[in-house]
Symmetry: C2
Subunit: 356 residues, 2 copies
C-alpha cells in the first residue's frame, strides 16, 4: 500500500472512457504521507573539465552526500551537459522527501556552503543553484519499467506502482493530484525582459511564475544488449533529439524557458553512463501538451517506444521515465558569475541582485 | 460537511488524553478541496494620512476589489498601523482560495500594477507587498465565536466548524494538518545581517526561511455593549498589549521577526473600527509556543478571555481569533523606498535588489 493525495474531482479527467493503455507504466508511490518534495540542482560552469574548479567541486559534492552526511540527500546523482555557449556544466543533483532536512543541508553541508561563500567579483568559475520544491500534489511521474529507481524514485520510502493513467493525451496532467481541482494554468503570457542581462561577475536570482513546469525526462540504456542499444542510439535517440531540437529552436514561440540534455556520470569516476535526461522548464503545462499532441517529433518518439515495448515485452531494456513539477509562485534560482544564457537568467521577468 | 487534509499521524498529538476544552472554539472549514491559500498585504508607508499618496492608494485599492474586478480577492480589508519610526502604514489586505486567480490579479489589477511601476528613486512615499501563500496543510485557524467571518473566513466557500483542538498547550500546532507528519522546525538559528540595510530609494526583497510563522491574531469588540466594551478596553486590551510589548522588546532573543498591531478601518471612509489584529512574523513555531506556555503575559490574556466567555456564554460579544501560516522556503516580500525597520527588511539574511 502506498499513500497518495486524492482530491474529490471537480475538473474532469482527460482519460477517454474505457481507456486501456497499450503499454504498461508505473508511477511513484510513497510509503508514508509526504508534504513537500525537493530536487536540488547545484552546478559548476567551466570552459571544460580541465578547469581546476572541477576537482574541488567533485570533492565538495562527495563530502555532501552519502552515509555520514548530516541532513544529506536521500538520493543523489552527478550529471553534465554542454550549454549553447559551449560551456561545460557539472551538476550535483539531490532529492529529499523532508524539506526541513534539505533546509538544514543548505546551512551545514560543504557544497552549498561553498556556493554561498563564492565571491562573484573574483571567482574564476560560474556556479548555479536551482531548487525545485513543491507540495506532493504538484508532482507527477511515469516509468516504462519498475525495476530500477530513477530520479526521486531512488529515495527510500518510495516505490513504483502500476498505473493505467498513461497512453492518452492528457495523461500527464491527470497524474498531477492537484489537476482534480486546479487547471494548472499560467496566470498570463510569459513576460520576458527586453535587455539581455549583465550577469558575469554577479550573484543574481531569476524568477519563474506560478504553474511553470519543470520536467526531468530520462533515458536509460546502460544494460541493453547490442541489438536494443543499437536501436536506441540509432533510432530512438535521434527522434528524441529532433524533438528537443524543435522545442529549443521554438523556445520563444513555445514558452520554452530552458532545455538541457544532461548525461549521467559515475559519481566517483565521472565516467559517462548510457543514461541521459532532459531538464526542461516551460512557462505552462499547455506548452508540453501542445507539443505532445500536435507535433510529429513527439509522435515519432512515442510510437517508437510503444512499438519496442510491444516487441520485447519484459525483455525491453531501454527505460524511459520522467518526473514533472508544477511550480508555485516566486520560485527563484541563483546564479554566480554565469553567462547570460544559463538557466532562467535570460527569460526571468526580473533579476534580483543578492546582497548579504 | 467540510473538506480537510487528514494525514495518518506519525507524530503524536500534544492533546492531553481525555482533554475537554473549557471554552468552545471554531476553526475554518472548506466546502471544497483547496490547494494553495493566499493572503496578500499591499501597503503604503507615509508620514501621516494627510500625504496626497493616501487618496491615490485608497482609490486604486477600491478599483482592485469587489464586484466587477477581474480576479479580485474573495475577501478584502483595509487596515492601518503606526510603526516604530512613527510612520503610518495603510494596508489593503486580500484573501484568495485560488492561487491562479491571485497571480492574475497581480498582473491585471490597478493596485499591484501601481506598486510594480513605482520608481524607487523618485517616488515620494514608501510601499510594500507581503504575499503569504501556503498549501492548506500549513495553515491553522481558531475563532472564539462562529457568527462573524474574520480574515480568510470571509472567503465564500468556507465556514466555521466546531473544534475541540483548543484550550491546551500545543493546540495551535495540532491544528496544522501537516503537524501530523512534520515537526515544523526551523532549519537552524535565524541568521541576521550585521549591517543595517540601506533601503530608502530602493526596491528590495527580503527573505524568510522554511517554517517561519506568520500569525494574524484578531480582536473584535465593535458590537459590544458598554459593559463588555469597557472590560475589553480597560482589562483585556492592556494585557494583550503587554504581551505584544514583551514580544517586541525581546525580538532578537525570541526570534520575533516583525510585530505590527493593526487597526481595522472602514474600507470606504477609513474610519477606525473597534477591531484590531496583530500581524506577527516569527522565525519558528516554537517561539510562539514558548511564549504561550511560559510567559505571564500570555497566561493573563488567556485566563481573562476564558473567564469572560464562561461569564457571558453566548452573550460574549468580544471575539478573538487567529490565522497562522507556516511558510515554505524562500518566501520573499518586496519593499519600495521603505525605511529599514519595515517588515522583514532589518532581519532578512539576504536582501535582493530588484532589476527589471
Amino acid at each position: 500500500m502506498t499513500w497518495t493525495i486524492d482530491y474529490p474531482r471537480r475538473i474532469a479527467e482527460r482519460r477517454p472512457e474505457g481507456h486501456a493503455p497499450r503499454a504498461p507504466r508505473w508511477t511513484l508511490g510513497f510509503d508514508q504521507p509526504t508534504s513537500l518534495v525537493t530536487s536540488d540542482y547545484l552546478a559548476l560552469q567551466v570552459e571544460d573539465m580541465s578547469d581546476p574548479a572541477v576537482g574541488k567541486f567533485v570533492e565538495l559534492a562527495g563530502k555532501s552526500r552519502g552515509r555520514g552526511t548530516d541532513h544529506g540527500p536521500q538520493a543523489h546523482e552527478m550529471l553534465t551537459y554542454r550549454d549553447s555557449l559551449g560551456m561545460t556544466n557539472l551538476i550535483a543533483l539531490g532529492y529529499w522527501l523532508d524539506a526541513t532536512e534539505h533546509a538544514r543541508w543548505l546551512q551545514s553541508a560543504a557544497l552549498p556552503r561553498w556556493f554561498d561563500a563564492l565571491d562573484p567579483a573574483t571567482v574564476t568559475c560560474g556556479a548555479w543553484h536551482e531548487v525545485v520544491q513543491v507540495p506532493l500534489d504538484r508532482m507527477e511521474t511515469v516509468y516504462s519499467d519498475p525495476d530500477r529507481p530513477f530520479g526521486m524514485a531512488a529515495c527510500e520510502g518510495t516505490r513504483r506502482v502500476p498505473t493505467t493513467t498513461n497512453g492518452y493525451y492528457g495523461a500527464a496532467r491527470d497524474r498531477f493530484p492537484v489537476s482534480a481541482i486546479d487547471r494548472l494554468e499560467a496566470p498570463g503570457s510569459h513576460r520576458q525582459r527586453n535587455a539581455p542581462p549583465n550577469t558575469l561577475g554577479r550573484r543574481l536570482r531569476a524568477e519563474v511564475g506560478l504553474n511553470a513546469i519543470v520536467i526531468r525526462s530520462g533515458q536509460y540504456w546502460q544494460e541493453s544488449d547490442s541489438e536494443q542499444r543499437e536501436d536506441y542510439e540509432q533510432e530512438l535517440q535521434p527522434k528524441l533529439m529532433a524533438g528537443m531540437g524543435y522545442l529549443k529552436e521554438h523556445a520563444g514561440l513555445e514558452d520554452v524557458l530552458s532545455l538541457r540534455v544532461m548525461t549521467s556520470l559515475d559519481e566517483e569516476t565521472l565516467a559517462p553512463r548510457r543514461e541521459t535526461s532532459v531538464l526542461g522548464h516551460f512557462a505552462r503545462l499547455g506548452t508540453l501538451e501542445n507539443w505532445a499532441e500536435s507535433h510529429a517529433t513527439h509522435a515519432a518518439i512515442f510510437e517508437h517506444a510503444i512499438r519496442k515495448k510491444q516487441e520485447y515485452g519484459d525483455a525491453r531494456s531501454v527505460v524511459t521515465w520522467h518526473e514533472v513539477f508544477a511550480l508555485q509562485s516566486s520560485t527563484t534560482y541563483e546564479y554566480v558569475n554565469c553567462h547570460g544564457q544559463t538557466g532562467l537568467l535570460s527569460c526571468s521577468p526580473v533579476l534580483l541582485s543578492v546582497e548579504r
